[in-house]
Subunit: 279 residues, 2 copies
């Protein structure tokens, strides 16, 4: 007898199609994905993207991969039941576009617009001039088990990750932020679940806020997060970089790149976040 | 007697509130904003952002400036009447978030989600590490009147602009694209209308596609465009850069930065666009 064990991530974004309401999916936000008092924004984006994958998989000709997805965060989410209501705006030949609204107890947490397609159908031509990040190998990077206890206590989701940060970008954990506005490292899921497009939506928001490296501790609430998925990742480690170049007026942008073991730039994302309040 | 002359841009995004349908605004897409057979995507984004400015101005406590705005382009627009239907999702203390749907004859052209605020209320702290582009002065740059006639013929909107491109990034106009994936120059409106937040939404999509500089002629349809407004621009010239670093799988990202004469990085944008079809 074979018992299918669902990964923590697949369980985290699992959805049940509602029988009486077209386009509606029900899920459960797990306590294990909390960070700083709310549920991680990347997980919410992945759940909403998952709902649209299911919707387009039936109605949209197999456009199951998010190619571009934008989320606006409306209120802090909490562990417990969540509902995602989807609307298909356009079912095209290569892309299908729709909206998703994730709510809890009737209060909207996240509004998403996204275009889904089939990343396996890409024509393969690649002209990437971006440079992959240079990182020491994973066993020479710093696991989050070495992070300050008060950080871990606020970020249950770190236990889901095997995250190894580049020692050159982790001075903030020792009270010596570099001021460069850059954090980078290796990422995989702790339970060994391999990467796919939906996981990349989580990865885009998985590292500590880049403001830690600017000497600004505290969690940075996301206003908006857009992820472009540019290729299906191969199995293995992901290299992730977070960087900011414009902290101003109480906000900052955080650009993430995700590279897979084949050396492909598989995802690019940018979020606008609020600068953490001073302690 | 004083006659108020409305600028071309203000006329281009002008809206009338519908008396019988809350949240609805009616406008007219002008033939002068066409490019490559459709109406410029930046102008559409500015019109949708304008509708939400009006909506939040009444309902949202003076949150008239788009701070973050994301648009998904659903079908090609044409000169003629357009309707924008808005919905306020959340009216917060510092930001109000809403959706806007721009349609023509019942066909949706653009779906937007955006958070509006008051850029004048920012606390002023600026820690920008991004470097402003180095450009020769405007009178040593290349006006679009020197662009190939077949380009001008497809881009009526260029007549609205005083756009001066850096000679170092305009080799493509002479059949010698640099291959760097970068186009930059000075921008202002031809009729002298000074920049403001809504104009920056147009500017983010105003330069020729950066793929021209990669030797890929043809217009590049936008899938998604997100603009972050980071400060109110001062009057005068804007410096604009467009760059791409990841052409892959039939799509490319185009990152734009807009700097004002005070040296502020006033807007950052990224779009995902389709690689132009081969001629």
């Amino acid at each position: 007898m074979t018992t299918a064990i669902r990964s923590e991530f697949d369980q985290g974004i699992a959805l049940t199609r509602h029988l009486d309401e077209p386009g509606r999916y029900d899920g459960e936000l797990g306590a294990g994905w909390q960070i700083g008092g709310g549920v991680n924004g990347g997980l919410l984006l992945a759940m909403a993207g998952h709902a649209l994958s299911l919707e387009h998989g039936v109605a949209g000709g197999g456009h199951a991969d998010p190619v571009s997805i934008s989320g606006y965060y409306l209120s802090a989410s909490a562990p417990g039941p969540a509902t995602v209501r989807t609307e298909v705006l356009r079912a095209g030949r290569s892309l299908s576009t729709g909206t998703a609204s994730l709510s809890q107890d009737g209060v909207e947490r996240l509004r998403v617009v996204a275009s889904h397609g089939d990343l396996a159908a890409d024509d393969g031509e690649v002209r990437t001039t971006a440079q992959a990040p240079q990182l020491p190998p994973p066993d020479q990077c710093i696991g989050v088990e070495h992070a300050p206890k008060e950080l871990i206590a606020q970020a249950a989701l770190l236990e889901r990750f095997d995250l190894r940060l580049d020692p050159a970008t982790i001075g903030w954990a020792l009270g010596q932020p570099s001021g460069n506005g850059r954090i980078q490292g290796w990422f995989r899921l702790a339970d060994g679940r391999e990467p796919d497009p939906l996981l990349l939506l989580l990865v885009a928001d998985a590292l500590p806020p880049v403001t830690f490296d600017l000497g600004m501790p505290g969690w940075a609430p996301t206003i908006e997060l857009t992820v472009h998925l540019r290729a299906r990742p191969v199995p293995g480690w992901l290299r992730v970089t977070h960087a900011t170049r414009n902290v101003a007026g109480g906000y900052f942008e955080e650009d993430a790149e995700v590279w897979d073991e084949a050396g492909r730039l598989v995802a690019q994302s940018r979020q606008l976040a609020r600068v953490p309040r001073r302690a």
